[in-house]
Subunit: 299 residues, 2 copies
Amino acid sequence: MRQILLCEPNISEGRDHSLLDALSAAIAGTGGARLIDRSSDPSHNRSVFSYLGDPRAVLEATESMAQIALEGINMASHTGEHPRMGAVDVVPFIPVRNVSVEEAVAVSREFGSFLGDLGVPVYYYEKSALKADRTSLPAIRRGEYEGLTAKLKDPAWAPDEGPRKFNAKSGATVTGVRPPLIAFNVNLATNDLATAKEIASAVREKNGGLPAVRAIGLSLQGGKTVQVSMNLVDCGVTSIARAFKAVNAEAARRGIEVASSELIGPVPLEAMTDAFKDLVKVKEFSVQQIIEVSLINNG
Amino acid sequence: MRQILLCEPNISEGRDHSLLDALSAAIAGTGGARLIDRSSDPSHNRSVFSYLGDPRAVLEATESMAQIALEGINMASHTGEHPRMGAVDVVPFIPVRNVSVEEAVAVSREFGSFLGDLGVPVYYYEKSALKADRTSLPAIRRGEYEGLTAKLKDPAWAPDEGPRKFNAKSGATVTGVRPPLIAFNVNLATNDLATAKEIASAVREKNGGLPAVRAIGLSLQGGKTVQVSMNLVDCGVTSIARAFKAVNAEAARRGIEVASSELIGPVPLEAMTDAFKDLVKVKEFSVQQIIEVSLINNG
């Protein structure tokens, strides 16, 4: 059975296309790794690469890419609107298929150790965190690049890998394993923003709703429609089907219909089949029954 | 974008495993074709092979396999419970992905012409039929192998390819293109067989229900439960979601719940994503968003 690990590094460069092309080439040139997306934001001065493959290939691609990024980016002169702490800012590894969290964590630790050896302070986050207060990216990144000198002097923020010493050129890197995140929005057949906010509040984890769900109520199209915009941060915990049913039930209680929904960005096949199975009450369905899957497993 | 054509030939041999292994080897040995399933029934004395790949590879695999089957099988001494007319009895080609019906029909015609040149009378059925009364397999196969001598004398049954002459060793072959067929069963939370039969009758095409749906009511587990057993013969016409909702609504009208459902055998990815989109009201979802699909397309 083929293993698929996804990596989505956020790199602090969104303007220099010759450098970005070199990073793409390093990833695409690694046997067994496939670059599936690259998006750059010049005002953030930041790019996100998405690539996948077996764990060894993804590790190798990530190391090659990171080495070029560290050479080419100088954080001392970096400007951009997005919070950032280093040249190779955040490197999440996401198990997609037949990869255990443990195995993915081992990959992230190998990568962290590689960066440490190159003189970059590294923090492990999410499933790879070694300390309880290092699971969340915003907590680790607080103070950003500009606050790193002070942060590294604080014993509570000694890095997990690499020198406890400010690296002016490269800053610091956060890496680790997180579950696939699904951006799932449900549009309501009403233009009442208060309702969308109420429903978002009812379904999100923070207010006692569904676990592993973040949700906000939004007004769209100049107030013509409203949306419950969700992040399913671990679809193994709360699936698309469960989130959909919850919003649907909250809307129905208020006499409102669900107009449509949207899935933004990449979705793992299993997240979709799980939702399908739930909604059609299918028992004993195997992903192997999907005709095309024989091509994924042996491809 | 990768093309996938599926072929599921029904061969009149279910006992001689050395011959069946030779057929498997011919398929698996064709570059670009992948054998995904083989099942044999000794009492039917019949086997079904499932393999897929790009259209040229599937044609080549089918020709290699058929040639060996025609050499190894003698219909004059064939016995078995299943209706059959020839050694290479029925050869359906099923477009799964990025293959048009026209393109698949062209493949089936090339295959039919190949068999005709080998001296086998060939009838085109389903989407490949050249005559209106030749779309249905049972109509063509009526009289079976034993009735072929008489059938071939009837001008109405002149074959579409090959000699109008009885071939004692090989019989005749039916080939053509059909849409993917989905075997979808819905189990009801009741043991009342009459209800299952009523619902089956309400949803099937024959009685004015859903187009491209065949359905029967069955009693299972020694009468403990009942099932609406459906064949969705063209899921582009009636999807899994629509069939599920129809059975669900008919059951609800009778105060009965749907207990569970079953998908038997291979299902095209698109049939599942279509159902998912319908049930979650997703607009503008592309199969390309499924992470694993980049691996299918570029294989």
